[in-house]
C-alpha cells in the first residue's frame, strides 16, 4: 500500500487510468506541490513520521519494515494483522486490524504476531449440535463474567459476549448468526479475563449449524442422483467433441434466465 500511495511511484509506473487522463495529471501536480500532511506514530515504541492518511499497515511499511507476520489478505478478511494501540492523553487500550485502521497522531502501536489459543481436536460426526459440544470442548466458556470486554475489542463490531452467552445456553443458531462475520483475529481472546477462545467457539458453532441444523436441499439430492446415473454423460461427450465454431454458435444462442426474487 505504501508503494501505491507515493505520488512519485505512481508517476513512474503509470496505471492505464493515469495514462490519458489530463484532469488527473493536473490534480497530481497540485498534490505534489502541496507537501503531504504527516503524523508521528510510535511503532513498537519507536517514533516514525508517516503520511496522515495511512492505515497502520501502510505506516509500518512506509517506515521501512518488511512485514512477515502481521499481514495476510490486507482487506479485512483474514485476521492476520491484530494490533493494539494507545492514544496520547487517553488511558484506554484500543484494538484494530492494521489493514483497515487509520493512524492518528501520537498513536503508540504494536502488532500481535500470533495469538496463543487452543483448538481442541474433534470429529464433527461424533458431536451433537447442542450444549454438550461446548461442555466437552470449551468448558471454560461457563466462566464468562459477562464483562463485555470481548465485544469492545472486536474490530468487526460483533456482539461477541452475546454469542458466548448464547453458547452457554446451547443456542447454536444464535452463535452462528452473531459470529458469522468473525475474522478469527483473536483480539477478543487476548483481552478476556475468563481466558475464553471466543473465535474458536464461534467456528465450532458454525460448523455444527452447517452440518446438522441447516435445512437440506432437495434439488441438490436430485441433481447428485442424476449425475451418478450418468444422465449428462452423452451431452458432455457431445460438447467435448464440438469444434470451436459449433460451441460458439451454441453459446451465443443461450437463453438467459430472468432474475426473480
Amino acid at each position: 500500500m505504501a508503494k501505491k500511495i507515493s505520488p512519485k511511484k505512481a508517476r513512474k509506473n503509470p496505471s492505464p487510468s493515469l495514462e490519458t487522463s489530463v484532469l488527473a495529471e493536473a490534480r497530481e501536480a497540485e498534490r505534489l506541490a502541496e507537501p503531504r500532511k504527516m503524523v508521528t506514530v510510535y511503532i513498537m515504541g519507536k517514533a516514525y513520521k508517516v503520511p496522515a492518511e495511512s492505515t497502520i499497515m501502510g505506516a509500518i511499511e512506509y517506515a521501512g519494515y518488511q512485514i512477515k507476520r502481521g499481514a495476510g489478505c490486507r482487506e479485512g478478511f483474514c485476521g492476520a494483522c491484530a494490533t493494539v494501540y494507545r492514544l496520547p492523553g487517553d488511558f484506554k487500550i484500543y484494538t484494530g486490524l492494521a489493514c483497515t485502521t487509520l493512524v492518528q497522531d501520537g498513536m503508540w502501536l504494536s502488532q500481535l504476531p500470533s495469538i496463543p489459543a487452543h483448538k481442541p481436536v474433534y470429529d464433527i460426526e461424533k458431536l451433537e449440535p447442542n450444549i454438550t459440544a461446548f461442555q466437552q470442548l470449551y468448558p471454560e466458556i461457563f466462566r464468562c463474567v459477562a464483562c463485555n470486554t470481548c465485544t469492545k475489542a472486536c474490530p468487526q463490531n460483533l456482539e461477541v459476549m452475546e454469542y458466548i452467552q448464547a453458547a452457554i445456553r446451547g443456542d447454536i443458531a444464535k452463535v452462528m448468526d452473531l459470529s458469522f462475520d468473525c475474522l478469527c483475529c483473536g483480539l477478543c481472546s487476548i483481552r478476556c479475563p475468563a481466558e475464553i477462545v471466543h473465535y474458536n467457539v464461534g467456528l465450532l458453532a458454525k460448523r455444527l449449524y452447517g452440518r446438522y441444523l441447516s435445512p437440506r436441499s432437495a434439488e441438490l439430492e436430485r441433481r447428485l442422483q442424476e449425475i451418478r446415473s450418468g444422465k449428462y454423460d452423452q451431452e458432455y461427450r457431445k460438447l467435448m467433441k464440438m469444434s470451436r465454431e459449433e460451441l460458439k454458435k451454441l453459446y451465443y444462442a443461450r437463453d438467459i434466465e430472468e432474475e426473480k426474487e
Binding site: 493515469l18 490519458t20 497530481e28 492476520a80 460448523r207 432437495a218 441438490l220 449428462y232
Partner: protein, 555 residues
Amino acid sequence: MYPEYMRPSLKKVEETRPRRFELQKSGKPVFPPMSAQEREEVLKRFHPDYRPDALRQVRIGPNKGELLTREVADMLEAHSRIDPSQFNLDRPDFETDILIIGGGGAGCAAAIIALKHGAKSIISTKLRLGDANSMMSQGGMQAAVTPQDSPTRHYLDAIGGGHFDNKPELVRALTEDGPEVVKWLEELGVIWDKRPDGNNYVLHGGGTSRQRMHSCRDYTGAIIMRTLMDEVRNHPEEILILEFMPTVELILDNKGRCAGGILYNLETEEYYVVKAKATIIATGGYGRLHIRGFDTTNHYGATGDGLIMAYRAGAKLLYMDSVQYHPTGAVFPEQIAGFLITEKIRGAGGQPVNRHGELFVFPKEPRDVESAAFIRECLERKNGIETPSGRVGVWLDSPLIDMLHGEGYVAKNFPAMYRQFIRYGIDITKEPMLTYPSLHYQNGGIEINARCETNIPGLYVAGEASGGVHGRNRLMGNSVLDYNVFGRRAGQYAAEYAKRVRLGRLTLNHVLEYEKELKKAGIRTTRIAPILLPLYTPEIVRQRQLTARYEGNLR
C-alpha cells in the same frame, strides 16, 4: 465521504436511479449484452492484455519462445534462491507421503481428501494456514443444482466465458463435480445461504445463463476456508502444518519424478529438505506482481511461487499470456484502492454507471469484457470520475439493491462490503461505490489434466496455480469451485500414486541446469524467484538499507 467536486455526478446518479430501478425490476437485461464481434472489439482495444508491451518472449525453459505476460517472463528468467551443492538430499529433514505446497483452499482440500485415501501429508505454507485468496472470495461458488440448470449448461457458460480456450476435460471435471462439492462442504459444516424451502439461494454472476452462484453472505471464502482449515487441524497426527515455511524449489529423483521440496523458514532463515512420494502445488496466483502497475485484490503472498518452481523442474505452463482484471476494484478512498468489490453486488442488481449516471454496459458480461468496457468508458469516452489522487473510475450503484430486495438486504447479505466503506463515511445503501478494474486472477498456470497431473510424474497442481480450467478468462464463482474440485482430485490421485511409487535417488540437478540455460541465453540479471513477499518499502528507506538485499527479499 466523497469530496465536494464529485457531488454533481452523484446527483446525476440519483436522478437516473428511479428509471434504472424500473428497468432492473423488469427482469430483462438493463443494457444490451454484447455480440461476439462487439466483445472481441472492446477486448482488443481496451483490455490490458492487448497493450503492445503487455507480452514478451520467454527465452528459456519448457515454454521457450512463447509470448508471456511480461512480469511473468521476468519472474521465470531469474536465479534460484539456493545453491544445490549445499544440500544433502540423502538425509531429508522430513519424510512424508505428500508434500502440499500452499495452505489455501486447494491445499487444505487436498490434505483432507488425501487422508481419506490413506496418505499423510505436510502442508508447507509461506504465511499462516489460510492466508490465501481463498479466504477473500466474497461472492460465491458456482454449481449447477437448480432444476432449470444443468452441469452441461454450466460447461457451456464456462467455456464460452473462457473464449473456448479451456481444456474440455477440465471443464467437465469442474462442472460435473460442482454439486458434489456443495454437498461435501455442507457436510463439513459450511453454511450456505438458503431459501425458505431449504434449497440453496442462488444468484447470477457475470457470464452465467442460469442463477447458480451459491454463497455464505459475502464471507463465502472466509466461511469455506475456515471450515477446511479447522478440519485439517482436526488431524494433527496425519497432517503436519508448517507455517512461515514456504517451499522454494522442487526436488526430483533420478528418473525425473517429483520427490519433495526445499523449504525455507522465513523467520530463522534455515532451509530444510522434505522427501515426499508425491507433491501437490497449490500456491495460488500472482496478483502481488502488480502486473502493468495495477492495484490488486490479492492477498500479501500471491507472488506466483509455484509457477517458477514447477517451471525450473520442467513443467509446462499454459495461457500465461492472460491476466484477469476484476471489473469492480475500489478506487476511492485511497486506503482501499484495488480492494475487491464482489461481483455479487451486480448479481443482486447493482449497476455500473458513468459520470452522467447513465448505463454503458450490460452489468453481467464476462469479467474481461466488463473490465474492458469500464476502461473504454473512462479513457476513450472520458465518462469516468477522477479521484483526488489521480485515479479514475465509474460508479457502481449499490443503493438499488435495497430498493429491489427491501431495506436491510445489504446489511444482511453484504456485511463485509458495508463495513469496508462505512469506515470512510460512505454508506453503500445510500451512495454508490467508485470502481475501476483491479488485478484479480491468474487465468493460466501449470498445465494439468483432469487428474491434476502435470508432465512431471508425481507433481500435481490444483487451484489458481494450474492452467487450462478457465481458458483465457475465468467466470465469477468458478475459482472457489476450482480449488475445491481440483484440490479434492489432487488429494485423491496423489494419494493413490504415493502408494505405488518407489523413489530413486534425489537430485536438484534441474536447478543447476536451469542456471546454465540462463547463462547460455545471455540473461544477466540479479532477479531471484520465488519472490515470496512483495516489496513496499519506500525508495528513500531502501537507499539506506546498505546491508540488505531486496531482490526476492533475500538478505
